[in-house]
Amino acid sequence: MYSRQVGGNKLILASSGWTYLRTFVLYDKQTESLWYHMPRTHGLTCIAGEYADSTLREFRSYFTRWIQWKAMHPDTKFMRYP
């Protein structure tokens, strides 16, 4: 999970349709800058575009199975698939 705020700007991130080394290359809809999780780093780095060299910090997220997560967090919300 990444911040999507640069300075005071709130970005909308999406897949660019590209991957690189099988990792998704994201872009922001505001400037079409490209954002990529560089190996051995935390967060997203802007590799091209208006925000070049800026970073978006990473927040902790957990990859797990529902049964374990629910046991740890009984009140957890769950995204309803649209």
Partner: protein, 155 residues
């Protein structure tokens, strides 16, 4: 005027005009014989180099919609290889989700406790949210907000 070297191929230069050099490098690798679960390698990206005529050359990768993505900085500053950008399915191929509805325990459709599907879980300021991997695979990015803090859950 600067002649542009591309993959050891010296292409002719037309004086006085911006020249677009086109490299088509499409390699399709078929799935392994008898291994239906193997994912074929993606084709190499279509790369376009625009001669800067004294300014720096611009390097683009072209996606399936014909859209040119400027990767000059990624190549020059971060060492990306333009041909190694993969798929180029286009910006609309995978639509992100924005501030999706979250189900609470007891809501219709809320998963039973003993389901074992994989998911991404987040905790922010006491707000606990979970996103199913199957759902994330479809959209890749969920643009979310926890109050004033705006985040993207990406898989």
């Amino acid at each position: 005027m600067v002649a542009t070297r591309l993959n050891r191929l010296r292409l002719p230069h037309r004086a006085g005009m911006r020249r677009i050099s086109y490299i088509m490098a499409v390699v399709m690798v078929a799935a392994g014989f008898g291994c239906s679960s193997e994912v074929p390698d993606p084709p190499m990206a279509v790369v376009v180099v625009e001669d800067g005529d004294g300014d720096e050359d611009k390097i683009f990768v072209v996606d399936i919609d014909g859209k040119k993505w400027d990767v000059t900085h990624a190549v020059n500053h971060y060492g990306f290889e333009a041909t190694k950008f993969e798929f180029g399915a286009g910006a609309d191929a995978i639509r992100p989700l924005s501030n999706p509805e979250m189900l609470l325990p007891g809501d219709p459709g809320y998963p039973a406790d003993n389901m074992v599907f994989t998911m991404i879980g987040t905790v922010f300021d006491g707000d606990v949210r979970a996103y199913g991997i199957d759902d994330l695979n479809f959209h890749e990015v969920v643009n979310e907000s926890f109050g004033d803090v705006h985040v993207a859950v990406a898989w």
